[in-house]
């Protein structure tokens, strides 16, 4: 009897331990969100939400009139991210299709882990490449004074989101039942037709999720764009201009801003906008991926 009580106690304490661990993760995340919210809200005592979201000028330290418009930063983030996706999506899907359909098993076993390791390269190293390698190359290629601009950022973000896009797209292409491919081949379909008309459509939801997750990474990336895009506060009119994204603006200014000023709160408000954007992107990815897994089973 005593032994049983002891075992029950042990069982109970282990369960409590794991429950507390799970709770900790949730509490920390909720705490971060709450801090963000609490720090962002005071900004709107002095700034109109509409002014904040739809004004192009961000000049919180102006001696004449402080302006807090983040439209330029939103546009910069969107522009750099879209540029990155235009570069990364075709390449990523192409590589995924090659790995799942064309490459020998041995090639795949080497290339896929290698691509996944690429995701582990610190972003500061990629930013470094942007400054010393891609910057000068772009300047030379397009005859610019310097190559620290939106395109540079897009190129680097493309490289950074490729591992996610390739890895998850390849998973979903490999999960397409081989019977589909066999059916297409047996009807006289070429390998190319089989890939484009049967396998890619069957894997589409997984590929969309892959792109969304890659995009989530690109939108939130800070160090790389901070180093490579030139940090100009002007509203971007094209990828050849220097620009400043939401993430780099926060990183640059938060270290120097006087605490508990409107400027300080406004930076948190930018963070909140960014959080909502990445949250939406990730949620869409999750819904699509979930739907796809349900259909498979």
């Amino acid at each position: 009897m005593n032994k049983r009580a002891l075992r029950n106690l042990k069982e109970k304490s282990v369960r409590t331990f794991f429950f507390l661990n799970g709770l900790l993760a949730v509490v920390v995340l909720a705490g971060i969100f709450l801090l963000l919210l609490v720090s962002a809200v005071p900004a709107f005592r002095e700034i109109h939400l509409r002014e904040f979201l739809f004004t192009k000028t961000w000049d919180p330290t102006s001696p004449l009139k402080e302006t807090y418009g983040i439209l330029g930063q939103i546009a910069s983030s969107v522009l750099v991210t879209l540029g990155a996706m235009i570069l990364a999506v075709p390449v990523g899907i192409g590589v995924a299709a090659y790995l799942s359909d064309v490459a020998h098993a041995r090639v795949r076993e080497i290339v896929k882990p290698a691509v996944e390791i690429l995701a582990g390269i610190p972003s500061v190293v990629i930013g470094f490449l942007g400054i010393v390698l891609i910057g000068p190359a772009l300047a030379k290629l397009f005859g610019l004074g310097h190559g620290l601009n939106g395109l540079n950022g897009s190129l680097l973000l493309a490289v950074m989101s490729l591992p996610t896009i390739i890895s998850i797209s390849e998973d979903s292409l490999s999960a397409v039942p081989p019977a589909y491919g066999e059916a297409s081949l047996a009807l006289g379909g070429s390998r190319w037709q089989t890939l484009v008309r049967v396998k890619l459509p069957a894997a589409l939801s997984g590929i969309i999720a892959a792109v969304m997750l890659g995009m989530g990474r690109a939108v939130g990336e800070t160090m790389t764009v901070l180093m490579a895009t030139g940090n100009a506060r002007a509203f971007p009119t094209g990828l050849m201009q220097s620009l400043r994204t939401m993430t780099s603006n926060i990183a640059i200014e938060l270290g120097e801003v006087p605490y508990f000023t409107t400027h300080y709160y406004a930076l948190f408000a930018i963070g909140l906008v960014l959080f909502i954007m990445t949250f939406l992107v990730n949620m869409v990815a999750d819904i699509v991926l979930h739907k796809y897994q349900q259909r498979e089973s």
């Binding site: 297409s184 047996a186 006289g188 379909g189």
Partner: protein, 253 residues
Amino acid sequence: MTARSKIEARKLDFFYGSKHVLKGLDLACPEKSVTAIIGPSGCGKSTFIRTLNRMNDVVAGTRLAGRILLDGADIHDPEMDPVELRRRVGMVFQKPNPFPKSIFDNVAYGLRINGERRRGRLEEVVEKSLREAALWDEVKDRLRENAFALSGGQQQRLCIARALAVRPEVILFDEPCSAIDPIATARVEDLIQRLKTEYTVVIVTHNMQQAARVSDYTAFLMLGELVEFGDTKTIFTAPVRKMTEEYITGRFG
């Protein structure tokens, strides 16, 4: 046997890696008739039927020796395009494998990859093929629905319709009824019987009654070798080899 042979294997050997799966097979399937391939599990009957449209090409680590002739022409000749070959030699698989597309798009697939875009022509062929596969009446009002909404037996007939749509000359059936229920099986068998007026049919089956019911000729395979081949009636009533008789009467297998 007086009928002209449509597709035939000559001294066919097949290897999976170092495993010798088919051993010196000589087998000729007569035109516009049903040839059944029977034999115990692992005798190589599925492997054999997959060599006839070169489906094993896509399987890594396989090797083939000997010849397979379609209308007297070697299908491994460099002149012969495997894609073109598979348009002439269609296949229906063990498990129904419709695409995750609509019923219409499934049947139209083979035509579309051949570049057929005319709506009217597609509709015409889809209807004709579904009628031939005895499925038209059941699906004519729901052609836009996903093929997965059909029952297993309907899916298999859809796969047959899909194969018929490209007007092949030979249709290979790889145990087409092993995954569907008895009533659906009866319908598919019926269908196979009717197909032989226009097509040459080769069917692999582990079900001897099925072979007896649907085929004109039967080949008995054992451990990769052809034991006996002849018209079905003879094989089932007066087989020459003792091994054939024992298998057919159910003493092993």
